[in-house]
């Protein structure tokens, strides 16, 4: 059954509005990069970001070693500084997805939050990306940290 164009337009506009509302709205990384606090020599920095708007309604918390450090907001990023050591980054939707990684002193790592098909809802999963890809992908994303 064909949907009249006049009826489809408000629906599409509504969907776009919902998508926009679900996306991050803070300053872009490229705008605030110079104002980020410098990383101390005995610490490490993890940038966590979600570049896609797919599954925008699904925004699980992101945990590092069990502590909530942020949310998986589409087009958003945040960062945490931690001492060197072993870490587990976890997202929970209808399943738990974990990335385990090791941090060396002074190191900066990039963790992308991807989305895959789920049974009821999509699954948000953390993946480690190399520095070049991570620093490039994060440029246009919006800060959602505290």
């Amino acid at each position: 059954m064909a949907i009249p164009k006049t009826a489809a337009r408000p629906v599409i506009a509504g969907i776009l509005l919902l998508l926009l509302a679900a996306c991050a709205s803070g300053p872009q990384f490229s705008q605030m990069q110079s104002s980020l606090p410098a990383l101390s020599a005995d610490n490490c920095r993890i940038f966590v970001y979600r570049s896609t708007v797919l599954g925008a309604a699904i925004q699980p918390s992101v945990k590092i070693n069990g502590d909530v450090v942020g949310s998986a907001v589409p087009r958003g990023f945040f960062y945490v500084d931690r001492p060197p050591g072993d870490y587990e980054i976890t997202t929970i939707t209808e399943v738990t997805r974990t990335l385990s990684l090791h941090l060396d002193a002074g190191q900066t790592r990039y963790v992308r939050l991807g989305i895959s098909m789920g049974f009821f809802v999509g699954h948000v999963y953390p993946e480690l990306v190399d520095d070049a890809a991570g620093s490039a992908e994060i440029q246009e994303l919006h800060y959602i940290g505290k």
Binding site: Y87, E88, E94, V95, T98, H102, F119, Y125, L128, D130
Partner: protein
């Protein structure tokens, strides 16, 4: 079906099969949901504990001469890129353990684990999972071409 000693009326016989059908549907739906939920978490990387002994002398270093795809029995394969330089971080019973800063090395199934390559002579025998301190075997083991840099 009518049974002896039971009052016969279409009012009593009618709803019973319908409710059974509904119950059956719910049962099937429940089973599908349970199985579906389980299916997302069935792929686990098989791991055995491994104690890493660090090298006391200078750490061997080499460069990979061609791309290598290493598969595990479970999960996704891991690509080791040509031109990456690897340095030894220690030894486990299964072989020597090497890391690189030229690419991300992870082992991935339902979860993702940062890893180092385990080599025996010129053969990748598996991965050492850095956080879990475990070994997971390659299947099959993969012969590599490399240029030894030191020592």
């Amino acid at each position: 079906m009518r049974r002896a000693g039971r009052p016969s009326s279409t009012r009593c016989d009618g709803p019973e099969p319908a409710s059974r059908r509904r119950a059956l549907r719910l049962l099937v739906l429940g089973a599908v949901l349970v199985l579906g939920a389980c299916a997302f978490d069935v792929i686990q990387v098989r791991q055995v504990p491994a104690t890493l002994e660090t090298f006391s002398g200078p750490a061997p270093e080499w460069t990979l001469s061609q791309d290598v795809n290493v598969r595990l029995r479970e999960g996704f394969s891991t690509l080791l890129k040509s031109g990456t330089t690897w340095h030894a971080i220690g030894r486990i019973p299964q072989g020597d353990v090497y890391r690189t800063s030229d690419q991300i090395v992870t082992v991935e199934a339902s979860n993702v684990y940062e890893a180092a390559v385990v080599l025996k002579a010129d053969v990748v025998v598996g991965f050492y999972l850095l956080v879990e301190h475990t070994f997971t075997a390659a299947d099959p083991e993969v012969q590599i071409k490399r240029t030894i840099r030191s020592p």
